[in-house]
Amino acid sequence: MKRYILQRLLHLIPILIGITFLSFALMHTVSTDTVDILYDQNGGANEAAAAARRASLGLDQDFLTQYAVWVINILHGDMGNSFVSGMPVLTTIMDKLPATIELMMLALGLTLLISLPLGILSAIRKGSIWDHLVRLLSFTGNSLPDFFIAIILLYIFAVKWHVFSFLGTSLSMVPILPALTLSIAMSAKYMRQIRAVFLDELSKEYVQAALSRGLSYPFVITHYVLRAVLAPLLALLAVSAGSLLGGAAIIESIFLWDGIGKLAVDAIMMRDYPIIQAYVIWMSVIYVGVNLLSDIVCGFLDPRLTIGEKED
């Protein structure tokens, strides 16, 4: 087990290097001259001052040196300063992170509440009216972009029923509507996967064997099948967390929820490159971290996964 966790952690290093390298290269190719951008916002500067500033920021160095310096700074907790507010990027991100994590947690919880019972129901009642209904729901949800789900929810809850005040201004302290939007979008995908994993497990021989030994169907489901599908379901949930992180940018902007996603969209409008860069890195690190965690938990749930790790 220790070896497995170590192996997973080592696997992370090239991925993290790659993520930071790509983010850096992306900014580097497009915003070739940070100094120009900085001075343009302050009404331009003479060449000598610009050159001096470039030297002080290390922008006269070659690409790889700049990258190395930048990574070392990040490791020291310095992600640069925002072009707009002048505040350190790291503190800005840290300020907004709790709001996004709160939204994510609520959305994940709602997703499980919606998709687990419905997915299991459609699997054990395969071919019934319930199964068709769940599949129709899942199909509909999959065809709706998340921002349209947000608008439909706003229309129902704010315009028609007046449960929430319009367009998210002080939607209450808890992000119910944004979380519901994200969880509907995610459940549509997840229900389908739960159904598939369950059906696959139900067709295995041990289920037949247990039933023919006289064990009741609910007992077999709760004691055997549910346990067996826990690991794959967790892994699938971790993978779909990626769409949650991406969707958050749009949904937070619609509902004016003051998290990292809205911060990033606002930063894009103001061409605040350091913030965008930090956003990409943070979201990717969270995504990779969530998947690492799920890998490790899956390893505990199903120790077979920890041996015979084949290099593909």
Binding site: P14, I15, G18, I19, F21, L22, S23, L26, M27, V30, S31, F139, T140, N142, S143, L144, P145, D146, F147, F148, I151, I152, L154, Y155, V159, F166, L167, A241, G242, S243, L245, G246, G247, A249, I250, S253, I254, A264, V265, A267, I268, M269, Y273, I276, Q277, Y279, V280, M283, S284, Y287, V288, D312
Partner: protein, 271 residues
Amino acid sequence: MRSSKRNRFYFFLSLILLILVLSLLADYIMPFGPYDQNLSMALRPPDSVHWLGTDRYGRDMLSRTLSGARTTVCTALAVALAASSFGAFIGLICGYHKGKATTLLLRLTDVFLAFPSMVFAIAVAGILGGGTFNAAAAIAAVAWPKYTRLVRNQVLPLHHEYYIEAARMSGFSPLKILLVQILPEIIGPVLITAALDIGTIITEIAGLSFLGLGAAPPAAEWGSMMSGARNLLQTAPWTIFVPGAAIFITVAIFQLFADSLRDLADSKTPR
């Protein structure tokens, strides 16, 4: 069973062709110009003249939605084509040739897969600046790696097939083997994945436009039409639900088409 699957496939294929024809002929069939303003007719609910109502400048929603179909559908098809052929090409190379360079390429695809796709697309589009082309480029940049994985995993087991070895011994160049012997074997799953992908790409393009990172506001594009009408949800909900419904219907049809294509392929190759 087979024939019903085939009928389903042809049914959805014809629906897709219908969408394509509608979007390509939009200029000839739409009742009004998509950019023709008429302020005296602003914010009219759907009626017999303007079937789907008008927006805040009195522009006909039906015409704008039809005109938007071309932007969205054609862009999505182009992105799917570009991402799948590029990804598949890299996958072919990585699967066929094992070496340091291809290992590095594979690691690179791993890195791309480690980014949550929409996060990366938002950042790329944000850095490149708005515009339909940049939004398409951003989405293609996150869509290709899964084809590389898919194709590589298909190509690897083919290595030891006799007909590949025979071709190799007959002195065929690697490129010729890849294109003539291997490509026909693996094209099916790539097409199915691409078909499944188009719906996602449409929603992603619309999402970027909704954020203001795709087609700019005056353009008739579904995502930006919805974004521009956000504050009309109370007074003129059709201005936002019409383009939304257009996205929903288009994505649904592409999904059903992809499913029917997969079912048809499954029944052809019994596992």
